[in-house]
């Protein structure tokens, strides 16, 4: 179905190619997962398939590429659109029309299909994707998962042979991501559609893939093969696979079920139970901050947007040196709560006190000297020509000496990028620049909104280490996140919000062990509050 033969591609004004001598064959009906560190060329590879690369971006393209017998370089994206359907990361940014049904028909109208055929295809796609009930809705009123399914539908109406998706779940909460991924699996299994998907969170998707393509970037050769083989050979692995490799299991489990079989086979549970240190874990890594002073105190906070209640009597306290993870569905009030803490929003009822200041009385600038808030999209912060200017700007705003950014640059490993244009950096690097631009002012409380969006495992681990350091130096951190793995690694407490109310508030081990949704892979594997991360297991086994 797809054949890359020695494909090399470099973006215009770039010296080094993103793809170098890439050769790859994909058979009809395969489900292929493309992984790799950010900036390794995953999106580029996907965009080659319908000719957006090189037609839309320019640059130098070499080698040979065939998709369903056509050459995308000759056929151009328009010519390829009936063969390859491409779905993008941001569901918002790809809609042209205002209602679902019209959006589904848009591609067919461009191809001059007859009204009767269009009608038939729209009905089929509505049923295939289980979105018939959304037919007349305005796209702006849909949830994230619904939007992404409509986006998939809008390319499926042309009956393409290949469906290509560029991190389609990166902006979704776990439930919505599940919705989209099961839809893809169904399309692949039932219709025999070839699916090429790039994704950072392998734990969500690796079990569906027939093969994995790992792009290491920096001109190195890609690793291609069945999921188990690739996961064994690369560093970028989900926790379950990492544990398997650490313990030397002969099979790399892709699902919790397979993992449990392995655990049973290796008698790991009895070994862990008899290990001398179960009590050791209780007093270990997670801070007990009950004695330390209270930094954030939210008391019975109520808030509504245009009559829709976003917070309903929320109580939250954060102590010094504590890391709190706010979790819950999209729209459950996480971001609203963060904005209350930084003073961008004020409670309609109740009070929010941070570092001894009542946010309703103190202005945002006063709050900003105590609280650092890193928004979801680092793009909203970055505007300067270099990373250095970006940091100096924050320092200037806080009337601090302009050269006081040394420590932050070092701990976030931004040294090599200090003179670069922030928007030229990769997603992970940009995230770090945004973090640095807030942290140079030395806030006592750090608020993070979805900090792991678009980050790979390495970058996530680096972020977790950084947060641990901050905690060590007495900073308090509150992060709104969907990423259970990050929360499992570095949170002390988890607060789960639902519909604007606090549903659960407790120590991370207690909450995660008792939850079905908000539990990391290792937590699900053992069902034991002592084991949430690979490190937990290794520590008890005396391996670290």
């Amino acid at each position: 179905m797809i054949e890359f033969r020695d494909v090399t591609y470099a973006y215009p004004e770039s010296d080094s190619p993103v793809l170098e001598n890439l050769s790859l064959r994909v058979e009809e009906g395969e489900f292929v997962l493309v992984i790799g560190p950010s900036g390794a060329g995953k999106s580029t590879l996907l965009r080659c398939l319908n000719g957006l690369v090189p037609h839309f971006y320019g640059g130098r393209f070499g080698g040979e590429l065939r998709v369903a017998g056509r050459d995308p370089v000759v056929a151009e994206p328009r010519g390829m659109s009936r063969v390859v359907g491409l779905v993008f990361q941001d569901p918002e940014a790809q809609f042209v029309v205002d209602t679902v049904e019209d959006e589904l028909a848009f591609a067919m109208e461009n191809h001059d299909l007859s009204p009767l055929l269009m009608r038939k295809r729209v009905e089929e796609v509505l049923d295939q994707l289980n979105i018939a009930h959304l037919r007349g809705r305005a796209v702006s009123t849909l949830s994230g998962g619904e939007k992404q399914r409509v986006a998939i539908g809008s390319v499926l109406t042309l009956s393409p042979k290949v469906l290509v998706l560029d991190e389609p779940t990166s902006q979704l909460d776990p439930q919505a991501a599940e919705e989209v991924l099961t839809t893809l699996q169904k399309l692949n299994a039932d219709l025999g559609l070839t699916v090429i998907l790039s994704e950072h969170r392998l734990e969500r998707v690796v079990q569906y893939a027939d093969r994995v393509v790992y792009l290491p970037g920096a001109g190195q050769r890609p690793v291609i093969g069945p999921p188990e083989d690739v996961l064994r050979r690369v560093e970028l692995t989900p926790p379950l696979a990492s544990l398997a490799k650490e313990l030397g299991w002969d099979e790399i489990p892709l699902t919790i079920k397979a993992g449990r079989r392995q655990v049973g086979r290796s008698a790991l549970v009895s070994r862990l139970a008899s290990s001398p240190s179960p009590a050791l874990l209780e007093q270990e890594d997670r801070a007990d901050t009950t004695g330390s002073s209270q930094i954030v105190d939210v008391e019975d906070a109520w808030f509504s947007y245009n009559g829709r209640e976003a917070l309903r009597g929320v109580n939250l306290s954060v102590h010094q040196g504590e890391v709190v993870a706010l979790m819950g569905r999209n729209g459950s009030g996480k971001t609203t709560l963060l904005k209350q803490i930084v003073g961008l929003l004020h409670p309609k009822r109740g009070s929010v006190r941070v570092c001894g200041l009542d946010t309703s009385d103190a202005d945002v600038h006063r709050m900003a000297s105590h609280v650092g808030y890193v928004p979801q999209n680092p793009g909203t912060l970055l505007f300067a020509d270099t990373v250095r200017e970006e940091l100096e700007f924050t320092l200037g705003s806080h009337s601090l000496p302009k050269d006081g950014y040394g420590d932050v640059v070092e701990s976030l490993e931004l040294g090599p990028h200090i003179e670069r244009y922030p928007r030229d950096l990769s997603v992970g690097e940009r995230q770090r620049v945004a973090l640095a631009a807030i942290l140079v002012a030395n806030p006592e409380v750090i608020l993070l909104d979805e900090p792991t969006r678009g980050l790979d495992y390495m970058q996530k681990a680096a972020l977790a280490r950084f947060l641990q350091d901050q905690k060590g130096s007495g900073c308090s951190v509150v992060m709104a996140t969907h990423d259970v793995e990050l929360a499992a690694v570095c949170a002390d407490r988890v607060v789960i919000l639902g519909d604007g109310e606090v549903v659960v508030d407790g120590p991370v081990r207690e909450v995660m062990a008792g939850s079905m949704v908000f539990s990391p892979q290792i937590g699900k594997l053992f069902g034991d509050p002592r084991f949430l991360t690979v490190e937990d297991v290794l520590r008890v086994m005396g391996r670290t």
């Binding site: 957006l52 328009r78 009936r82 790809q94 009204p115 042309l158 600038h365 928004p375 999209n377």
Partner: protein, 363 residues
Amino acid sequence: MKYHVLSWSLWALAAVLPALMTRNPLYLVIVLLAVSLSYVQRERRDGAPWRVFLRAGLFFWALTIPFNALFVHAGDRVIFSLPQQWPLIGGPITVEAVVYGLVSGLALFTVLLVFTTYNAQVSHHELLRYTPGFLYQAGLVTSISITFVPQMLSSAQEIREAQAVRGHRFRKLRDMLPLFVPLLTTGLERAVQLAESMESRGFGGNLAPISWRQELVRRLATVLGLISLSAGLFLSAYFREESGFGWALAVTGAVMLLLVFGAQGSRVQRSRYGRPRWDGADTLVAIASGVVIAVFAGIKGLAPMELVYYPYPPFSLTPGFNPLLGGVLLLLALPAIVREAVSVRTSASPPGPGVTRVAGAER
């Protein structure tokens, strides 16, 4: 229930015409009430932006009253006087000026309400399907940019907040840089993504092939049309004695260009998705709207004074009222009444054997 885009557009035209043609407050109030019946029925989903729009309309309405009263000093019924030496606003403040301000604001607000009600229930894309081929691309770009505005506003808000929390204060024009640069770049990034998505779905493709001879004719006609249009405009503007010839030349050029655009547009092979949804209710609304338009156009031509309302002397402060005209305007309430009837019928009796469905309930 939603009306067919054509019947709904005709209704909007019928509602806006009286508001543009007359200042008679009695007719305007009838239009306003008839339209507001449809406004309150709109789907709640996107209420907020329209509410803001109407609130702005009310504000301008409130503004026209003091504005007119302060600057127009005609009329006999003086409320009080401002010292004559005050520039512009000095002089008598009259009842007539206040009333005229009130009525002008009413007309303005009525137009806004018609526009808002129309927009809240029309699908822009469906409307686009009825535009001629050569306008399609321009129309699509316009409709996309309309949806971009609220997105831009919300990202501007996000960026402003993010920079404020970073300790930045927006005081001078230069302080706006941290707002504008991210706004521009995020807007561009979004535009690129949208362009990619459209291109990947075959947008702008499928031009029917033409021979080199046709291509040559097209180019020649474009050039000739442009020359003829500009030469004609130039002649009619600068050479009075040749203005008749100039206009003829300009019109010929314009027609030529339109023909070229039309031919070019018909080369784009696009089909139009849309189910035939015209039903009895649409026919009713279309006929009623046609009657309103015909009556008002007729009166404007035959008895224009019927529509004039001017509170200043020598005219009367009390508006005249023609019951026939008032009755015709009541027809504008028809869409709301039909819709209400349909929703009552469908909710009260689930269609089953023996239940006749009202026209329009099939949607």
